[in-house]
């Protein structure tokens, strides 16, 4: 393996040498030995081969008309074998505009893999663990806005998907998870690799299906994609028996769907919208609380328009990060447990909260009786069950955020910013206090250590705040949300509801495939990274250009922080070892870089960005850095813990 001449000089960290190992030639993605640098970010396996050309031609055709494209029949593909259930699965996926499937084969799923090769426009990415497939489909969906698809076999393949399905459920991600099951005559007989997977996924999916008849497949897939993507999105699981996959299928794509029990209410009630406008007109200290629903509904422009017209500052939840350009003067920042102090203070002193597409999660409200005690609440959500679930509200509006805002904006009066001058001045004073330290809460500058907040903010700068940034879970996730600086909608991907460690790398893999036009970074801690580290090889084999920023503090950082602050320093099981990351990168054939000092950060980031393909940067951050402020569990937004801060001595 030769070194690449365009590779930047790797950084040498203390005690270890940074290595750029280049990519292994054995994975077959290099056009010629070692020279794959000329064309950046190529997603095709075996680039340059006839097979890759076939795949990209198929995908180009698909993307031209994703919804109603003419799917070639088997005869048009030059095949004489009968059309079976597995063919119907592939056709249905294409018909629904799915161009990528993240999957892992297994005994009863093999009939599907037997025909998959006949559908070159359907790209299959072989993951290393089904959890990775589910997270990748999740990341794909979040980055692209399309339905993500993952699949696994019966039994363990199916149960391995469950974590990722649950993650998608809690974060309202459109996903279709496909599993195979044993032949229907063996269902319930405890056959090999049989588990009641529809029973398991029932409470963590929006809907699920057990399909025993090949002729049900086109209808079920059409329903599943519709349910997954319509209204409040969510995962739908389809379990197919092996005999359904193998039987001859004569059913065609349905012309219309018959789902009498599924009619999401998209337009908000006119009278309620009018009431909301009255509330806004009456409020002296209004604040918008934007959630994931704003991004899902593609209501970013409407949000900004409302904020500007009525001069209302916009706070956001964790999944609402990137709903508003953070440099916008009315963008207030992130609310909640680790949100900004000035945002929490604004919420607590507000007299009106306009909650858009969010669900008053306990990480947002804290102890509900103390939440925003003076505020009346207008709550817009597409899911009626979210209204009044956690917090009683004055003006509930059930509907799609975009449509509701479009109806609301004309009813809201233009507000002169001057009339809110005192309010804004107060917020600005709080903000100045909240942001008074350059690396808030870290303190790592004291002895020249590297602080994580510095690293993520430099990644944000280096990528022009345009890259897709995928966080793992824990302190790294909080630092990403606080300090990266998000400007582009859907550029922030994070496991909010389920808080799934190990989410970062596989989700970034999916995000990079879903938005190949955007640079993708996974920012992970050393704990979460080790949970799904096997997907590194998927990145290599499928040549998926994810840059991994490893924030290595040799700790389960958030666990350690809680143990320090809540459990009186009883640090049980929060110190963990990792491998030699550079050797690991080398073993996988991934260029690896190390930064241990603040001055090495920018060079390491630039080095990783210059790699064509996946890259790993090990940032050796301070071991005991906490995320502040922090709202202790069971307390309210006014009870923030903050670091006792000393001004740096010159």
């Amino acid at each position: 393996m030769g070194t690449r001449d365009d590779a930047p000089t790797p950084l040498a960290g203390p005690g270890r040498t940074a290595t750029d190992t280049g990519g292994p030639s054995t994975t077959g993605h290099s056009t010629a030995n070692g020279s794959r640098s000329s064309q950046r970010i190529n997603h095709m396996p075996g680039a340059g081969t006839a097979r890759a050309e076939e795949i990209s031609a198929g995908r180009r055709e698909m993307l031209a008309d994703t919804r109603r494209l003419q799917i070639k029949s088997l005869a048009e593909r030059g095949l004489t074998r009968p059309r079976i259930g597995a063919d119907a699965v592939c056709e249905s996926l294409l018909h629904q505009g799915a161009d990528v499937v993240f999957g892992f084969p297994g005994g009863v799923l093999l009939p599907l893999y037997d025909v998959l090769g006949d559908y070159p426009e359907l790209r299959h990415i072989l993951v290393r663990h089904e959890q990775g497939a589910a997270h990748a489909a999740d990341g794909y969906a979040r980055a692209s806005g399309k339905v993500g698809v993952c699949m696994g076999t019966s039994g363990p393949g199916a149960t391995n998907l469950v974590t990722g399905i649950g993650n998608a459920m809690l974060d309202s991600i459109p996903m279709v998870a496909i599993t195979a099951n044993v032949v229907s005559s063996l269902l319930g007989k405890d056959a090999f690799q049989e588990i009641d997977i529809t029973g398991i996924t029932l409470p963590c999916t929006k809907h699920n299906y057990l399909v025993r008849d090949a002729n049900d497949i086109p209808r079920v897939f059409a329903e599943a994609f519709h349910i997954a993507a319509t209204g409040r999105p969510g995962p739908v699981h389809i379990d197919l028996t092996k005999d359904a996959l193998m039987a001859v299928c004569t059913a065609q794509q349905p012309d219309k769907l018959d789902l009498p029990g599924f009619k999401p209410n998209l337009d908000g009630n006119y009278r309620q919208i009018k009431l909301a406008a009255q509330e806004i007109a009456a409020a002296q200290r209004p604040v918008i609380l934007a959630g994931h629903g704003v991004l899902i509904a593609d209501a970013v422009d409407e949000l900004r328009e409302l904020a500007e017209k009525a001069q209302i500052p916009v706070a956001h939840t964790l999944l609402g990060v990137s709903a508003m350009d953070e440099t916008h003067p009315l963008s207030l920042g992130w609310v909640g447990m680790h949100g900004w102090k000035h945002v929490n203070k604004t919420i607590q002193s507000s007299d009106l909260i306009i909650a858009l597409g969010m669900r008053f999660d306990d990480r947002v409200t804290g102890h509900v009786p103390t939440f925003a005690p003076y505020a009346r609440i207008v709550h817009v959500d597409i899911d009626p069950a979210e209204i009044g679930k956690n917090v009683a509200v004055e003006v509930p509006i059930v509907g799609d955020v975009k449509r509701v805002l479009r109806a609301l904006i004309p009813q809201v009066a233009q507000v002169d910013p001057q009339t809110r001058a005192a309010y804004f001045a107060e917020i600005e004073a709080w903000r100045a206090e909240s942001e008074r330290t350059p690396w808030h809460g870290s303190g790592a500058w004291r002895n020249g250590q590297l602080s994580a907040d510095y690293v993520v903010s430099r990644i944000g700068e280096a990528t022009g705040h345009d890259a897709t940034i995928v966080a793992d879970v824990g302190q790294n996730q909080m630092w990403v949300a606080r300090y990266t600086g998000f400007r582009r909608p859907n550029s922030h991907i994070s496991s909010g509801g389920l808080g799934t460690m190990g989410f970062g790398v596989p989700a970034a893999m999916g995000a990079a495939v879903g938005r190949p036009d955007k640079e993708t970074w996974a920012i992970v801690g050393d704990g979460g990274f080790q949970m799904t580290i096997q997907e590194l090889m998927t990145l290599v084999q499928d040549h998926i250009p994810v840059r991994i920023a490893l924030l290595d503090n040799h700790k389960l950082g958030m666990i350690r922080q809680w143990q320090e602050l809540v459990y009186a320093g009883n640090y049980h099981s929060s110190h963990l070892l990792g491998p030699d990351w550079m050797k690991l990168a080398e073993a996988y054939g991934i260029p690896g870089f190390t930064a241990a000092k603040p001055e090495e950060v920018d060079t390491a980031i630039a080095a990783a960005r210059a790699v064509d393909g996946p890259a790993l940067v090990n940032f050796q951050i301070a071991e005991e850095q906490n995320v502040f402020p922090m709202m202790p569990a069971g307390k309210g937004l006014s009870d923030l813990l903050e670091e006792q801060f000393e001004e740096p001595k010159q």
Partner: protein
């Protein structure tokens, strides 16, 4: 529900404790009857039961049967909770794709019935007494043996409760109750909206 008290940020005194925001679902609990119209599909009972369990609602009775439309089933669920909590349960049920309609009929004009079979210890000495009580509750005796008899009672939940309380003194050997079923009074139909 409207917060009162003075906001320090708007000139109110800073030392007064802010008003506490009410927690949904902490109000006075009483019995509710939910009629749920569902698609007659495999697993739908499991979906409803699983949802109620997962969302921490405690089902008191549940009666499921077909309706006049073969593809539609009807569930009558009774549960205890405050109005907000039960409304939340109904809204959660609506999230199920197979659920067509949920109606809280607690305060509607309805006919409410439940059937109970009660096997009571009764011999020559006290059989007459048991029969008198059963008669007063318009219950029928459907089986008679030397030392026991089966009373079939219909009525509202509280009527059946009252009869059981009276019979308990004789010794109840076995008891089964169907759970409440209800129907709205008058020409209106709960199923009207879901006629297919």
């Amino acid at each position: 529900m409207t917060p009162t008290g003075s906001n320090p940020a708007q000139g109110g005194p800073a030392h007064t404790a802010p008003p506490a925001r009410p927690l949904p679902g902490k109000g006075e609990q009483h019995r509710h009857v939910l009629v749920t119209i569902v698609l007659n599909r495999p697993g739908v009972l499991n979906r409803v039961a699983s949802l109620m369990r997962a969302r921490n609602f405690n089902i008191e009775t549940l009666a499921v049967s077909h309706t006049d439309q073969p593809e539609v089933s009807r569930m009558t669920i009774t549960l205890r909770g405050d109005d907000v909590a039960v409304e939340q349960a109904a809204k959660q049920l609506y999230r199920l794709i197979d659920v067509l309609k949920v109606q809280d009929v607690t305060s509607d004009p309805i006919v409410e019935h439940e059937i109970a079979l009660i096997k009571v210890r009764a011999d020559d000495r006290n059989r007459g007494e048991v029969l008198t009580i059963a008669e007063m509750y318009k219950a029928r005796v459907v089986d008679l043996a030397a030392e026991s008899l089966i009373v079939e009672a219909t009525g509202t939940e509280s009527e059946v409760d009252a009869l059981i309380a009276l019979l308990r003194g004789f010794g109840i050997k076995e008891l089964v109750r169907s759970g409440t079923v209800v129907m709205s009074r008058g020409a209106g139909s709960i199923e009207e909206a879901v006629k297919r």
